[in-house]
Homo-oligomer: 405 residues x 2
């Protein structure tokens, strides 16, 4: 007997027919003698509709009331799934975050799970009842609802798997696993049989939507065995594994790109203040995250500062910069037509050749690199949006990912 | 300074523009120096949609999961209304039933409120925060969600008003008050300035949809000053008042009719068992409520039993009757094409003449009376559905309700 946490995403539970299909998938594991806990997202489209209501009333906010409103979607889907299971003879009950409870910090809209009480689940299992948990939701110590940020049900599932010491956490989604690139852009993209935690973390952070970044963090922290699978097709998915197990470490696992950031450049800043720190601090206070950063201090007493932020944050950043009277600069250039391409692979930390291959390939294609950013196992470059897709396809080929594994 | 509970129904909060309008209505009372608590229904259509989901999965059920699912609508609307208020500078916070808590019994789908803890609301007021309460929801002592039955937000509001000893409970709805008849059927129907608790109870129980019957019960029990008002028009509504205050007690207050019941007749039942009690008990165990009942024992050792039930219950009643082996009858006749007309007025208990007027009027119109049922302040008759509307108009006239008050 294994203890398994299954998580079903929004498209997997969109509509009665799909709920019934999902309930059969759950029943199969229970019939095989496993102890199962299920985490469920809101039905596809529901959270978006609720977010739009809040936007229509109050713009882009992430307050306590925002969380009360958007958390309702998971309440509906977990009740429905519990109902669907009982219809096929599987005793099940819904558990909302406040009933377990799943305690979080106070960061409304993107709260972090602090503690999960597993007693409630153990009690269900001891009574032969399968617990169906509302994903995405949390509770503050003060008894108010929180949510974990978009994709947060992944994190609920992984954190829950850690809390109940599950043997496996199966993330059922609308793709069949983790791919070497977005198959819509790269027709030769291939599904990975396995991927290391670290690589998955970088892929998620750099725009691969298959898992919420924080869920990968949680998996790493608690060494949760995560498997990404399709809700719709019965085929092997992708296993997240500790790096050590990887057969071939000299490789690149995937290439991802995202076009949701904008590039801002402050030209000719006067160098007499610790400007980058100031800007960082001021924007961080407003929960604005700077991504790629280049501070070019080549000039004698002036410098250029370039950074990327989410496109939606541009107006707030402009307002914040205008308020920072201590900073003087000649010009502010904003370019929303940029894309970030990232190559991820544990091989990058072994040999410099793999990173060089990226720069060489893009140079041959005459793709100018606007910003470069590296970590141990990834290299990201910012390029003109119009060149991004072709560049991703070329990189997919030169890194040997087109060839069938 | 008065303490006021305001309740807004589903059409009053259907959409962002209406939520904004409602928030201004609330602000007006707060600006006038009053302490306000707001109870809110789900946005119009939301509860129906959620109920349809449960029906598609499991038919007509009222289980714990049903309640988890359908309670979500009020969570959304109360979060949105709190948000709308904060946008116009009124500090407000949403309160879900489990946060207060509003404790109920275990009758899922139509739970009864057992206790409301008012501390949570008092604390909000002491901090200058207006509490926005999700209507319709409750919590069992075991920590599971319940709902109070359709229209249950009315009962939440009245029970809350009783719990916090409010000076008034304003029920804002899509009509401008309580009418002498349904204005869609009777063009000359008039709004009542006031109505006694007892009459309102009968009108609600007999199909007037303006207030949930149980909310009137609660108002009577705790002598809550309830006022029914329009969300959309600024005009005087209808006040519920103790009977003693009524100026003219020799009157009829309203005529209502409903077409949602079916008539069942068991022909030639053998009289050797206490059949009515048996049927009552058996159906009550399945939460099926018999309404009008006639047991005709004119025959020597046989009798006919006629009763009405909600149309939706017919299949369950047939199944239940078939299971009752101790009862033998010749035939079961089912007629769904019936309507119940009810005349309500404290005057009915004073002079027999007012009831006689009803029978006389219907006899002159050649409307056969299938069943008659009386209480202290109402007379109900079951008639053929096709004759109901015309009969209501005629009765409205003969009881003097067409004349402007």
């Amino acid at each position: 007997m294994a203890r398994i946490v299954q998580k079903f995403g929004g498209t997997s539970v969109a509509g009665i027919a799909r709920l019934e299909k999902v309930s059969l998938k759950i029943k199969r594991e229970i019939d095989a003698g496993h102890q199962v806990a299920v985490v469920v997202s809101a039905m596809a489209g529901v959270t978006n509709r609720l977010v739009r209501y809040t936007q229509a009333l109050a713009g882009n906010i992430q307050t306590a009331e925002y969380d009360v409103i958007v958390a309702a979607g998971e309440q509906i889907s977990c009740g429905l799934l519990a109902l669907a299971l009982s219809q096929i003879g599987v005793p099940a009950r819904s558990l909302l975050a406040w009933q377990i409870p799943i305690l979080t910090d106070l960061t409304h809209g993107s709260a972090r799970i602090v503690h999960i009480d597993s007693n409630c689940l153990e009690e269900c299992w001891s009574q032969g009842v399968t617990p169906i948990i509302a994903g995405f939701q949390g509770l503050t110590p003060q008894g108010r609802l929180t949510t974990l940020g978009r994709g947060g049900s992944d994190t609920t599932a992984v954190a829950l798997a850690a809390a109940v010491k599950a043997d496996r956490c199966d993330i059922f989604t609308d793709v069949t696993g983790v791919y070497t690139a977005d198959p819509r852009i790269v027709p030769k993209a291939q599904k990975l049989k396995e991927i290391s935690y670290d690589e998955m973390f970088e892929l998620a952070a750099q725009g691969a939507k298959v898992l919420q970044t924080r869920s990968v963090e949680t998996a790493i922290e608690h060494q949760v065995h995560v498997r990404v699978l399709s809700s719709f097709y019965d085929e092997p998915g992708t296993d997240l594994i500790p790096q050590a197990k990887l057969k071939d470490s000299f490789h690149v696992s995937g290439i991802t790109h995202r076009g949701d950031e904008a590039r801002l450049t402050l030209k000719n800043i006067s160098n007499n203040v610790p400007i980058v720190a100031d800007i960082f601090e001021s924007l961080a206070r407003q929960n604005i995250h700077l991504d790629m950063i280049v501070h070019n201090v080549s000039l004698e007493d002036h410098s250029d500062l370039t950074f990327t932020i989410m496109k939606g944050e541009v107006p707030r950043v402009i307002a914040a910069l205008q308020e920072m009277k201590q900073i003087s600069y000649e010009d502010l250039i904003i370019d929303p037509n940029v894309a970030k391409i990232t190559v991820v692979g544990v091989g990058l930390q072994r040999g410099i050749g793999l990173a060089t291959l990226m720069f060489k390939t893009l140079a041959e294609m005459n793709v100018p690199l606007q910003v470069i950013s590296c970590s141990a196992i990834k290299v990201s470059v910012l390029v003109d949006e119009s060149m991004a897709e072709e560049a991703v396809r070329a990189l997919h080929k030169v890194y040997g990912l087109d060839k069938e594994f």
